[in-house]
Amino acid sequence: MNPVNYLYLAALLFTIGAAGVLIRRNAIVVFMCIELMLNACNLAFVVFARMHGNLDGQIIAFFTMVVAAAEVVVGLAIIVSIFRTRHTASVDDASLMKL
């Protein structure tokens, strides 16, 4: 099967993730959508690696996962702390600073 289709899939996933970021209010979900975008990138990397026939893409995918993990750590920390302060995880409530 033509690997290019997987590229389309990756693009689709990325778009879904991006859309999610824009649509969802809950910080956690927004964050998960970002993770989804990262994973879409991973897929793209792997597919390209497959097409080019070299390992770089796959290696990068591993790096990306690690980064994503690190992001989870930091992100959750921040989100949790703000949740404990405001008792809400809605990103729209965090809008004290504007204009």
Partner: protein, 550 residues
């Protein structure tokens, strides 16, 4: 189908290779600056783990200062060793470039960070809580604001000494960022310096709600943009089959010629190239805070602890612009005719947008945020020049600007009332009467921002506009001067406020800082004036360092 088969054969062939992968060869000496800083960061973590609370502050401070100084010395050493010019080459298996721009920017970042660390360590400004001096960071970031745990922490005199290792990590990332020579390293470095910054933003002692909000905004948007960047990387990888700058540049330069027809679908596919590079550039533009990717800047600058804001405003810009320069000059020179017009637009938007919106700001930190956006626009004008003059002018501007910014934010930390820092512009009325010296210093910084002659700001602005004009971007220069005329307005407004308005009865007081902050501010003033009056040496330095290794 045949093409797929051939690809498969390629793939399997590649699959037999693992045995032959050579052990990487790393030039530790040339990576010394980065390694020192990151090492120190690790040590800092250990200190947090094993030293008693009392002694942590001093140990951390000492460690950070020593580490940064050593790293700076290492940079100087490398530069003196000719790695900036003659011996410039690509280290660590093509991952990191050691060349003029890299060293210059690393030096700048390290110096800025050193000064910034001084402001981090400042403990005289906030009134002592329960008898122990505190800095501008939360007693215990994890504790709920106003909750029992926090009060207990305050009573116990806790302070978040973790900021030192955290900031060291960020610095480490920033050092790599402009030197990164392949997209993966670029991405990793980006994350390495972004994640600590997200945390730092959340650590303010006063107005923690704002601080946390800024952190979450910064984090979400940052992650969002880095996802875009990563997707761009993926596409570029798809286009070139490699992520090394030189590799991609090569593929771009000789197009899709001697490429296996099997890969015609991806390799050399300009759509991949264009979209990919656009996305990567966007990721970097986000970091430099260029319109339309600037939305985070005001909120984050306002909410973050002021020392952190200063650090971000200065160091992040340097690192990000370094990376942007390298990307555009090393990877995409072949695409110049595609990205220059786009960058023209971005630069104009950024200059005008930042300047215009800043006019109506009422919070000093937000105003400085917008001014930083406008300045990003000015620097972009230099980036667009696509000439050695362009590079050197950008390098110079970054150096000049970052110190002014640090100094300005350091002054902001001094003006306080009951609620901590008095960042409401209206509260600054009559400051010139209350404490002329501080007001005068701030005025100097503002004039430098405004690009008044005899300050570093003017020299920098002149350099970038000159480079732009030489590269034929005359109208960009005109827009630039117009927007700096607009920008002048709000800088002047602050001066009017400070000097020509009667001080209010319940106005803020100016805290007397410790030598740490004083040094930071003094250094800022000195650099501002020296670069304004006798910039030649530094211009020359920047000129020397304006050649990228490919």
């Amino acid at each position: 189908m045949s093409s797929v088969a051939s690809v498969h054969s390629l793939w399997t062939v590649a699959a037999d290779m693992p045995g032959r992968i050579p052990a990487p060869h790393i030039e530790y000496a040339q990576l010394a600056p980065t390694l020192i800083v990151l090492g120190a960061a690790v040590v800092g973590v250990l200190i947090e783990a094993f030293l008693p609370r009392r002694s942590r502050y001093y140990a951390q401070l000492l460690l950070s200062v020593v580490a940064l100084a050593a790293a700076f010395a290492a940079v100087i050493g490398l530069a003196a060793g000719g790695f900036g010019s003659a011996k410039a080459h690509i280290a660590a298996m093509g991952a990191i470039a050691v060349d003029g721009p890299a060293l210059f920017l690393q030096g700048t970042i390290l110096l800025v960070s050193l000064i910034a660390v001084f402001t981090f360590a400042e403990r005289r400004l906030d009134p002592a809580a329960h008898g122990n001096r505190v800095d501008s960071f939360a007693a215990q970031a994890a504790a709920v604001p106003g909750g029992k745990a926090e009060q207990a922490a305050v009573k116990a005199g806790f302070t978040t000494t973790e900021v030192f290792p955290i900031v060291l990590f960020a610095i480490g990332g920033m050092l790599v960022f402009p030197a990164a020579n392949d997209l993966l390293t670029l991405f990793i470095a980006l994350e390495v310096f972004s994640l600590p910054l997200y945390i730092l933003c959340a650590l303010a002692r006063r107005q923690r709600l704002l601080s946390q909000e800024s952190a979450v905004k910064y984090f979400l948007l940052g992650a969002f943009s880095s996802a875009f960047l990563l997707f761009g990387v993926a596409l570029l990888y798809g286009y070139a089959g490699t992520v090394t700058y030189s590799g991609i540049a090569e593929v771009i330069s000789d197009g899709a010629k001697q490429i296996d027809p099997a890969l015609a679908g991806t390799m050399g596919n300009d759509v991949l190239l264009l979209i990919g590079s656009a996305l990567v550039v966007m990721g970097l533009l986000f970091k430099v805070g260029a319109v339309p990717f600037h939305m985070w800047t005001p909120d984050v600058y306002q909410g973050a602890p002021t020392p952190v804001t200063g650090f971000m405003a200065a160091a992040t810009k340097v690192a990000a612009f370094g990376a942007l320069l390298r990307l555009l000059y090393v990877v995409l020179p072949g695409l110049r005719w595609d990205w220059r017009p786009v960058m023209w637009g971005v630069a104009i938007l950024t200059m005008l947008g930042g300047a215009i919106v800043a006019i109506t700001q009422t919070d000093i930190k937000r105003m400085l945020a917008y001014s930083s956006i406008a300045h990003a626009g000015f620097i972009l004008a230099g980036v667009i020049a696509t000439s050695e003059n362009g590079i050197s002018s950008v390098l110079f501007y970054l150096g000049a600007y970052s110190f002014v910014t640090l100094g300005a934010f350091a002054v902001v930390t001094l003006v306080r009332d009951a609620g901590g820092e008095a960042t409401q512009l209206s509260k600054w009325a009559g400051l010139g009467r209350r404490s002329p010296l501080v007001a005068a210093v701030f005025a100097i910084f503002l004039l430098a921002f405004a690009g008044i002659p005899l300050t570093s700001g003017f020299t920098g602005k002149f350099a970038v506009f000159k480079a732009a004009a030489e590269s034929g971007a005359g109208w960009l220069v005109v827009v630039g001067v117009l927007s700096s005329a607009i920008a002048a307005f709000f800088y002047i407004r602050v001066i009017v406020l400070m000097f020509f308005n009667e001080p209010k009865a319940e106005g803020p007081t100016v805290a007397v800082p410790s030598p740490l902050t004083t040094t930071a501010i003094a250094f800022g003033v000195v650099v501002t004036l020296v670069l304004g009056l006798a910039p030649q040496y530094f211009l020359h330095l920047a000129g020397q360092a304006s050649v990228f290794i490919r």
